[in-house]
Symmetry: C4
Subunit: 275 residues, 4 copies
């Protein structure tokens, strides 16, 4: 009810507050976003366009490697700067996984959410607006990353139902909405790992949509209800009225004291005079 509510715990673990790490992160933010963008292009081209000339394919591989190298440098840099390294590793497991596990490469695209965060900083936004914005951006990137990854994994596999990026994109959407028609589904182990990521993402999106609507509705209905309540306002009025009472009381007592003072002066005069 007052402004002293303890700040609510963030859902995600807070970043290492080590000032050197923070400084490093601020300086490397844009280079990392650029690396993620280049990675997206170089990763997508051979998947979207399977008959790409060998030279382009080669170039894409180099760019993908370069982007990976940038991420490794960033991770190692932050690790070296962190004062409590073990704590840093524990708190940045996702970052470690992204650089160390090849199958999780597409998750690097999630770094692009940071670009949206940056662009949003200009416009003022309420809590709920930001949650919706990041959820929408995150799920769009997840669909993009998932459709590329599943196409790479499934294309050419025996019994596969996902043969091109169009199928992969359709599958990613159907999975994330938890509809799951079953016309397309992964059959390889890699594809199934991608699917688990999409399902988790889908559950999260459903949760965010519902939670946002719910919070909006709870607040609106409360505001609606409170307009009809009069007690709290009365109590406040009462306080104000009583403040006036006490002030008039102080004035009254002050006047009384002056009266008594004058009486004492007179009494002294009486004694003097009568003496």
């Amino acid at each position: 009810m007052s402004a002293d509510v303890p700040p609510p715990r963030p859902l995600a673990p807070e970043h290492d507050e080590d000032p050197r790490v923070v400084a490093w992160e601020q300086r490397t933010e844009w280079p990392l976003i650029a690396a993620a963008g280049l990675f997206l292009a170089a990763y997508a081209i051979p998947i979207v366009w399977p008959g790409v000339p060998a030279a382009v394919h080669e170039l894409c591989s180099i760019v993908v490697f370069g982007a990976w190298f940038v991420f490794v440098v960033d991770y190692v840099g932050r690790l070296l700067l962190a004062r409590r390294r073990w704590r840093f590793v524990r708190r940045n497991l996702l970052d470690l996984a992204i650089v160390a596990v090849p199958v999780l490469r597409p998750l690097r695209l999630l770094l692009l959410v940071k670009a949206i965060k940056r662009l949003n900083r200009a416009g003022a936004s309420a809590m709920r607006g930001r949650v919706v914005l990041y959820a929408a951006a995150g799920s769009a990137l997840l669909v993009l990353a998932g459709s590329l990854a599943v196409t790479e994994a499934e294309r050419g596999a025996e019994g596969s139902t996902i043969q091109n990026v169009g199928d992969g994109f359709w599958w990613a959407l159907v999975t994330m909405a938890t509809v799951g028609y079953g016309d397309t589904y992964p059959v390889t182990v890699t594809g199934r790992f991608v699917a688990v990521g999409m399902m988790l993402g889908g559950i999260a999106v459903l949760g965010v949509v519902t939670a946002t609507l719910s919070s909006w509705l709870v607040q609106n209905v409360e505001a609606d209800t409170e307009e009809r309540r009069t007690e709290p306002r009365d109590a406040a009025d009462d306080l104000w009225a009583r403040r006036g009472d006490v002030e008039s009381l102080v004035t009254e007592v002050r006047a009384l004291r002056e009266e008594v003072s004058r009486l004492r002066a007179d009494g002294a005069g009486v004694g003097t005079r009568s003496g």
Copy 2:
């Protein structure tokens, strides 16, 4: 707690508050609803009844074109009246898409939600009731629009599982409930775009149902809990009791002052008498 809660942000961006645009919108509301209704009929007839005579088909095409023309006129009119045109375009992207992108034509049916809004204005409704009403009406129209659009897109396509409006309707319901049996699913690109719309609608419906129940339950349980609490009432009683205290105190001090006044008068008399 008080009535000074800032009005919660609307979920949808507010309409352009330009008074000329508002006046235009009020005047064009019913014509647009009528155009949407005619569009529904003319759009549905050739889809529901594939062997429709050429003349009827021709007439339907004309009505569909006419309804589209009405929407274009309305959009251009509002655009010309708006003071800040670029802002108008940004805030009415859905309207632009509906008139400009042929595949989004069925979304024109969503204009019929406005008719429900109009009809509801008569009956007083609580916040939660209105949310439920618009969600139900919107999802019914979305199912209708989606089943027509998917049937138009899929009928005759190779490997299609949706050959008539009955299949389309069944598919729309199965998709919106995120059940997705997989007996019917779109295979064309247009059909898949329709599917994405239905999935988003389904997630939204699930969110609205849950949020409404949640808000109702949170409020009910709170009311339930508060009946058992006595503190706030005690505090109020306390304030009242203390108001009485202060009042009696003021009376007491006032009586005291009169006493002292009389005493001073007496003292003066004493001095006079003794003089």
Copy 3:
């Protein structure tokens, strides 16, 4: 915050408050539950056991007809007793549909929820507990009714995947959980209507589960947070402390007045003595 929160609107439209209708409903409650129970048995037997002897089948048909007759009598009775008949019809559309539309017959089983309501009246229950209880009972009855209805509709249909009650039960569960594997799905129009009912039920169940958890969590976290807040307590302490202040002030002023009174008496004595 105070006990003056307006009573929250019930989710279902309130029953006709006509005292004669209420009296009728109280008297017919148990007969209707019994009729619903008999209906369940007579409806289920030929579906579960397709090769039932002709005599048993005949008997079941009679019981089903008798139960229907009881529902018709109840509906007509309430309609005749209601003062505002048109309003009664509008508010009891589900009851009308259950007696008038043959395909909705299985919904009569929902009357058994009333039996649970009755049995629960004995044990005291919190709001949330009752919501969970009715949701669980309602969805169990919906699964039961849906699996019987879909089996009746689908058995023997061309291309049907539901040939016995076991399949029907499995299908009902898979549908209600919105999983929808697609190994079983209705192909008849009746079966698809049943499916829509199950999907709506599934969405409602998901909503109730989430809303209940949400309300529980919101309240628990609030209670948790409030324990750590000290302001309200301090404010209350403050009020108490100040109550003490004011009391001591009153005592002080009263003592002062007595002092002045005695002074005046002395002063009068002084005047007398000196005179």
Copy 4:
């Protein structure tokens, strides 16, 4: 608003508060967790590795039996120690089912959640954090138990789509996320029972995710809103300011009383002097 909010009801029925049962439970907690862990290993080995040597298979059977025996002893022990035995049976139906119904054996793995509870006791955790932790641990164990159980039930069944643990694991994830592609689904009665458990788990997980996000968002938005409100702070300031007023008033009255006392002494002197 105050700390006197009644403690919210736990979601699960509280354990028998019988002190002897509690003591027994504390002493048997680690042995039971160990038994559950051994059971997991012995249950999983023949399912994951079908061509296991006969000796290992034999050993696994013995360990499974031993673990079951430990659970029976624990259940009987608690039952004998409980003062109100019938109430104990009613409140521990899940425990009874786990020891009595062979098909529910995999649920014994849920006992491993207790191990997580134990390990978590060290680290302080907020309400929401604990709910998320137990939900995540519980659903991971449910997926594990479900994939083992469904593989055991389905392997070799006619028309089965789940032939090894990999398929079972994939099926469990697809089911729990309520996606249900339909590439894998149970065909045996046992497998379908397992599926129902997974679906219920999936609905619960979705509920927990949404509820947690919702509660977090409601609290954050409230805190956000309250910062912009000034009334409560003003009221508190007002109280403080008025506390000062009353204190100064008391000082004033005390000073006045002393003045009058001195006046009275003077008056007495006056009388004496004038006498």
